[in-house]
């Protein structure tokens, strides 16, 4: 019976020492002392050999109970110590949350012209338009003739044209002058020719060139051109499409106004105005005249019209069977209006302090 008493005494000692253990290291020492191969419980059990056979199960039972108890005490004690350590940390010193975040490489920025082009194109993509492109060094036929702007026509004055030194092109002459496209409209000709038959619905962004350089013009700028040709396309469709575009680009409340204008490749031609995105179309801001729309409440943003029958004929379409509309806009102007950029030159200086704002 001594052994049972010894075990009970041992358990009592373990309870006290484990409860008082201050840290993990002490706990580990206590584990070795009580539960180790050479520990105190093992030592007690080694004395079992001298016991009578009928006493052994009872002593063994007590020994197991004590071992389990000590084991459980150790687990709880470890948890207690861990908890108190965590509690201490949670109450301890703060980090400096005001130190700047670690940014090894700030993200680059997309040019506002690209950004705006992408926004415009995305809207028309959602309406089912395909994206088309074409050469910037272009033949006179595609840039002018096919678009109902014959040679010696005053409409050519509307666009001051850059011509290319053809001797550098290594091509034989006689195919008409080579120029820098003055608008993205030649892409619509190429797209219709490529398609071969209606319907054709494309949107064509790109660089265009005109010989003009001052406060409000750069010799290179960007346009997005669109065309929708098929049976039964009407002027009402043109109005609806561009009104939908204006709302998607400038915001849901944007109003549009369409008035007659002239572009040789459309008829009837139309200028599309949108309600001023800066003053909301009222013409003034906090009492002062709105400089963006010059107080009119309207901004000219789009040229458009029904595709001229001569243009359809030029690409082999039958104007009595198909109709269509075309539209075009200047990307820089759209970007200026959308982002409130006041100076056109900013687009081409490529000053990172400007670019990084987009």
């Amino acid at each position: 019976m001594d052994l049972v008493r010894d075990l009970e005494a041992l358990a009592e000692g373990a309870r006290q020492s484990i409860a008082q253990a201050p840290d993990d290291r002490t706990l580990e020492e206590l584990r070795v002392r009580y539960l180790g191969k050479k520990g105190e419980i093992s030592a007690v059990l080694r004395g079992m050999g001298q016991l009578a056979a009928e006493e052994r199960p009872r002593v063994g039972e007590v020994a197991n109970r004590v071992r389990d108890e000590v084991d459980a005490l150790l687990v709880r004690a470890r948890q207690r110590i861990e908890d108190s350590r965590l509690e201490k940390e949670l109450q301890g010193a703060r980090i400096d949350v005001t130190l700047p975040g670690r940014r090894l490489l700030p993200r680059g920025h997309r040019h506002p012209v690209t950004r705006t082009t992408e926004e415009i194109v995305a809207i028309f993509s959602r309406l089912g338009y395909e994206v088309a492109s074409g050469p910037e060094i272009e033949l006179d036929w595609y840039n002018f003739e096919a678009l109902n702007i014959p040679a010696d026509h005053p409409a050519r004055d509307m666009q001051d044209t850059f011509y290319v030194d053809e001797s550098a092109l290594g091509r034989v002459g006689g195919e008409g002058a080579v120029l820098l496209r003055t608008h993205t409209s030649p892409i619509q000709i190429r797209a219709m020719k490529r398609a071969g038959a209606p319907p054709v619905r494309v949107v064509a962004p790109g660089r265009v060139y005109r010989s003009d350089y001052d406060q409000t013009h750069t010799p290179m700028f960007h346009q997005v051109e669109g065309i929708c040709v098929g049976p039964g396309i009407t002027f009402a469709d043109l109005k609806g499409t561009l009104a939908a575009f204006a709302r998607a680009f400038f915001g849901a409340g944007t109003r549009t106004r369409v008035r007659p204008s002239y572009f040789p490749f459309v008829e009837p031609g139309a200028e599309v105005d949108v309600s001023c995105s800066i003053c909301g179309g009222v013409g003034n801001r906090s009492g002062a005249r709105c400089g963006t729309c010059k107080g009119t409440g309207w901004l000219e943003v789009l040229g458009s019209g029904m595709v001229h029958p001569k243009v359809l004929e030029n690409v082999g379409f039958d104007p009595s069977a198909v109709t269509g509309f075309a539209f075009g806009m200047g990307v820089e102007r759209m970007a200026m209006l959308k982002y409130g950029i006041g100076d056109l030159r900013l687009f081409y200086e490529n000053d990172l302090r400007f670019l990084e704002q987009f």
Binding site: R107, G108, P154, F162, V164, R171, G240, R259, E267, G269
Partner: protein
């Protein structure tokens, strides 16, 4: 075109100016500005001089009491051409004078002066500075001067598009106003009085070039006295921006602005042989135009000649020899119809753009030629006291048939997308002067008015109908079209991924002009593309369509450095321009190659509190391009030492993609910009650049890839450090490791040169992960694989194992 409302109101009843401007804009004649004439005289009123006395302190000044509407005021005056009772202009305090200064209440030598009495010159009215401008005695004191002088007017700046030459005159605008408002145009009477003998006895006209001059009509006015025009006429012209010159010339300009028909007056006594020959110029023929320039003519120039020589560039500008002068007494007045494209060619050839050429090249009313001639002849007679000889000399080789256009009644509705009744269509067209000549259940045929040369087909009629009816009436609908939903193109997908990869690597996008200075391309040396020169560049700096994107980007880098922006990473995606290949078959005149280029300089990471400060190098740029290749799914790219002549020969690489073909595909080059090239762009060392072919990237891209299963069995990790000669490329060592089939991945985590590694050698430390796909690898299998790798590196690369 400037349209005077005072003038316009003589032909048609007008709504108020703002309303008129809106109505004109609504019918397609955009009013760009509304300007009040006489505004420069605001603050100046008529004042009657009631009394005057000598200035007490200045002998040459008078102190006047004047009545100026609101009472009597005192003004000090220095002029002497007046007497008490005269009415003169008074600039009241606050008036801004045309010269720019402001009139204020002032004390002149101790006497108060409440304004200033003005001369005509001081008011900017004419050059007369001899004394006060004396106004009519019945002018009511206090009345604004502009009203007293009758020069109150509003001028509309109308943007007339090239298709509407008929609107380049006051009568033309009046027609549009009448159509828009339902009013009637009252055409002015010519009031021509003719006297014998007949003009044909004094003048002969021959048209030798009938395909360039469809009609040439002339009248002769004799006994004219050249002098200044009356004030009303000068005012009309000046409101439209035309300077008054003399009664005869002013009459021609008046009729031009009234009817859009250019006219020309010759001094008949200077027309040799009293004969007009309308002919093509002879090669090398010379003439002096009114602007004093001696011009060498082309055989494509149409001239108005007399028996001896050319005396006018037809439809463009008259000649100095036959100009109206102070002594002119016999006038030959010309009114003609010249073929538009010919006039345009001549005007452009000689760099001229005149009121006449502007209208002729757009097309004047062929039926208005003689009416304008008669109107102008009558005016000249009235203004100059001359007499008009009986009859016009009218050479009319090319008679024009009226144009008729048939309109299917349903067509306007089909095009516009709204119902347009037959009645509406007819009413709109008739109000614009179109005449219904025949009508049926399906179609109506309209005779186009002679001034509407732009109308030739049914679509033109529909435009007339809708612009008059107003675009607001058209509903908004969306097109119904059967077509596929387009998938984004490979180019669009590649572009977006490239942009995102570069933006993730800190590169911002630049957009540069496509043209550069020729010298910008030279530092890059041959092979980078000389570009395509322009014939008419806007400046020498923008003269060549660039053959490479790199120079523009280097300039942007230099620009930003000058702005003290040190950390620069920029890229551009744009076309480069090259002569087309000899065997090209498409119909594009040049070869345009889309490229992707970038430049970088500055620190690897921005300086922060925890890291940063080192300058970036080749491997930073490589580290930007590797994820780009990964996101495009381009695998197996080899980084071959050596790039391009504009790159540092020892610090550059060519990206070579094995592809599927016989030859590897060159994707582009990357490296440090050659120090001499950098210097040419005012850049220091340490500028890195890449220049890749977008088409090659797109061709190599596999943006949608398959996937491999996630490994099911554990890996074994081993580190390996080997020492190899400096010249041994890391690629060779890594490929040697990867040649072992059990290697799943190898990461090079250190490159070390220096003690204790022998001179000329380097230590490469790698972490290798071994794994078998079908079983758990044992340690001994991994050890064996490791040993095979060591043996291979020793044998192939002379590597030493470092323990």
């Amino acid at each position: 075109m400037r349209i005077s409302i005072a003038w316009l109101s003589a032909y048609v009843p007008l709504p108020p100016p703002a309303e008129l401007a809106r109505r004109l804009t609504d019918v397609g004649l955009e009013v760009e500005a509304v300007e009040r004439v006489g505004a420069s005289l605001d603050g100046v009123v008529a004042a009657r001089i009631l009394s005057s006395e000598r200035h007490p302190n200045a002998e040459k000044l008078a102190v006047c009491q004047v009545e100026a509407g609101a009472g009597t005021v005192q003004v000090v005056c220095g002029a002497t051409n007046w007497k008490v009772g005269d009415v003169v202009p008074l600039a009241t305090p606050g008036t801004r004078m045309p010269a720019g200064h402001r009139i204020d209440r002032a004390s002149l030598r101790g006497v108060d002066s409440h304004g200033m009495l003005c001369s005509a010159k001081e008011l900017g009215l004419d050059d007369d500075a001899s004394g006060l401008l004396l106004l009519p005695a019945d002018a009511v004191p206090g009345t604004p001067l502009a009203q007293v002088l009758g020069i109150e007017d509003v001028v509309l700046e109308v943007n007339v598009t090239p298709n509407r030459p008929d609107a380049l005159s006051h009568l033309g605008i009046a027609r549009e106003v009448a159509a828009a408002t339902g009013a009637e145009v009252s055409y002015p009477e010519a009031g021509l009085r003719q006297e014998a003998p007949a003009a044909s006895t004094a003048l002969r006209v021959t048209v030798e070039a009938p395909d360039r001059c469809f009609r040439y009509a002339a009248r002769v006015i004799e006994g004219v006295r050249i002098g200044p025009s009356p004030a009303w006429l000068a005012r009309r012209l000046e409101a439209c921006g035309v300077r008054a010159i003399s009664n005869v010339v002013d009459a021609t300009n008046f009729v031009l602005l009234e009817r859009g028909q250019p006219l020309h007056a010759f001094d008949l006594d200077k027309v040799a042989g009293a004969e007009i020959v309308v002919r093509m110029a002879r090669a090398g023929e010379k003439m002096t135009t009114l602007d004093g320039v001696v011009r060498t003519l082309s055989p494509d120039d149409l001239v108005i000649a007399d028996r001896e020589r050319a005396s006018a560039l037809a439809g463009v500008m008259g000649g100095g020899d036959s100009e109206i002068s102070a002594g002119t007494s016999r006038v030959l007045l010309e009114s003609a119809w010249f073929e538009p494209t010919g006039v345009r060619r001549t005007a452009r050839r000689h760099g001229l753009h005149t009121e006449a050429s502007h209208r002729f090249e757009r097309g004047v009313d062929p039926e208005g030629v003689v009416a304008a001639l008669d109107r102008c002849a009558a005016m000249i007679a009235t203004l100059s006291g001359g007499t008009v000889r009986r009859g016009a000399v009218d050479a009319h080789p090319h008679r024009r048939k009226p144009v008729e256009v048939t309109l299917p009644w349903t067509r306007p509705g089909e095009i516009l997308g709204m119902p347009v009744s037959r009645k509406e269509a007819r009413a709109a067209l008739q109000s614009l002067g179109f005449e219904l000549t025949s009508t049926g259940p399906r179609n109506g045929t309209f005779r186009v008015p002679s001034w509407r040369l732009d109308v030739t087909r049914e679509e033109d009629l529909i435009e007339e109908i809708v612009r008059l009816r107003g675009y607001d009436a058209i509903p908004e609908t969306l097109p119904v079209i059967v077509s596929d939903t387009p998938a984004p193109s490979l180019e669009a997908v590649v572009t977006e991924r490239v942009r995102q990869a570069l933006e993730g690597a800190g590169f911002s996008e630049a957009v540069n002009f496509s043209f550069v200075a020729p010298g910008d391309l030279t530092p890059l040396g041959a092979g980078s593309g000389a570009g395509i020169p322009l014939k008419n560049p806007i400046s020498a700096d923008l003269a060549v369509m660039r053959g490479s994107l790199v120079p523009s980007l280097l300039k942007v880098l230099a620009y930003n450095r000058r702005q003290r922006v040190e950390e620069v990473r920029i890229y551009e995606i744009a076309s480069t321009y090259h002569p087309r290949a000899a065997d090209a078959t498409d119909d594009t005149p040049a070869r345009e190659e889309l490229r992707l280029a970038g430049v970088a300089s500055g620190r690897r990471h921005p300086v922060g509190w925890s890291a940063g400060g080192d300058p970036l190098d080749f491997h930073d740029v490589k580290g930007a391009l590797e994820p780009l290749l990964e996101t495009l799914g381009i695998e197996g790219v080899r980084w071959v030492p050596g790039g391009a002549s504009w790159l540092h020969p020892r610090s550059a690489a060519t990206l070579s993609w094995p592809g599927g073909g016989a030859e590897p595909v060159v994707l582009g080059v990357v490296g440090e910009v050659h120090p001499r090239v950098a210097a040419a762009f005012d850049l220091p060392r340490g500028v890195f650049a890449f220049d890749l072919s977008f088409a090659a990237l797109a061709a190599a891209a596999r943006p949608v890839r398959g996937h491999a299963d996630v490994p099911r069995f554990p890996a074994v990790l081993r580190d390996l450090a080997v020492v190899v000669a400096n010249e041994v490329e890391a690629r060779a060592v890594l490929e040697g490791v990867r040649a072992e089939p059990l290697v799943e991945e190898v990461t090079l985590f250190d490159v070390y040169r220096g003690a204790p590694i022998p001179e000329g050698r380097k230590n490469l430390a790698m972490a290798i992960r071994y794994r078998a796909g079908d079983r758990t690898l044992t340690d001994s299998e991994a050890d064996a694989a490791h040993a095979r790798i060591v043996a291979r590196l020793q044998a192939d690369l002379g590597a030493d194992l470092r323990g």
